[in-house]
Symmetry: C2
Subunit: 180 residues, 2 copies
């Protein structure tokens, strides 16, 4: 498939391209169509023994709140590699990605979140550039009221449901949040 | 999270933004960063009784070859809704999306493909605008040599492995194709 790239000084207008049924940003010069696509977030519930790795965010949004290591998937990697990269960047932790825990969609911001189960072979970690603190939490110590994003809460609750399960179908958004 | 949108006449240059480690297309005026993200393809292995729905492509790439209904996920939908929409657009078939069959990555073109199992309640379908033919195939009749894309072949073979299984972990790329 040939991809035409717009030149840097091209200008764009909103039009419905031929054969399409959605309005897109189309280049006025070369008809390059700037599709806006949902974005993939990749992350993990990473554990060491019975403890879960959480990062305290050093940046906005939700600075000061706790999150699972997660971020935008990059070009040239697969989701598992992206999830491991984020654990390294945010928590300086080397994790082994295991199975797919969940596929969540946040329609409002057009994001699809893939969360994996993962393991640390050693309790070695520290705050990466986007974190002000990284800790391992026992299940009973998780700071539920100070979690940064809904999908972090969902992933932790879904993680609990399959503790001890080897094969399971990944979760999607919990029932009251199907269309958020 | 505030998203700054570039104005239509802004120009962009390649720079490494502060705190980042990749080169991005950055707006010269307002510092809007144009991230290039992997794209999500959503599709389904849709069945009626013991037959599988395939579409013969009417457009390039791979015109004339057979594919599962699949396409780019749009904004404002979740992957299941996108997969059902593609079955409608390409095969004029109303399908019920079931479980997640596979998450494949094609790194070379930065695509992540989510394939679901799906069912037609009636054998009602016809060629949509991107198809020249749509048919239900028995397993033994699948035109293996005339399938359009590797992920179509993978999805069909993975589908066979879990015929009759209710709960399973979704597949990823088959072993020799992890990094294609
Ligand atoms: Zn152009
Ligand atoms: Zn700008």
């Amino acid at each position: 498939m040939t991809i035409i790239q717009p030149q840097l000084n091209d200008t764009f207008s909103k039009k419905v391209p031929k054969g399409d049924d959605h309005e897109r940003l189309v280049c006025d010069t070369c008809d390059f169509i700037h599709y806006e696509n949902p974005k993939l977030i990749v992350g993990c519930v990473a554990t060491y023994q019975d403890k879960i790795l959480l990062c305290k965010r050093a940046i906005q949004p939700q600075k000061g709140l706790w999150t699972l290591p997660a971020g935008f998937m990059e070009l040239g990697e697969n989701p598992e590699e992206g999830a491991a990269r984020e654990a390294w960047e945010e928590a300086q932790a080397k994790v082994t990605i295991k199975d797919l825990l969940a596929v969540y969609t946040v329609k409002r911001i057009s994001q699809v979140h893939l969360f994996y189960r993962a393991e640390l072979s050693e309790p070695v970690f520290s705050a990466g550039i986007e974190s002000m603190d990284v800790q391992l939490f026992r299940w009973t110590e998780i700071p539920w009221k100070f979690l940064a994003f809904p999908s972090v809460t969902w992933a932790l609750k879904d993680y609990e449901k399959v503790m001890g399960s080897k094969h399971f179908a990944p979760f999607s958004n919990p029932e009251p949040y199907k269309d958020i």
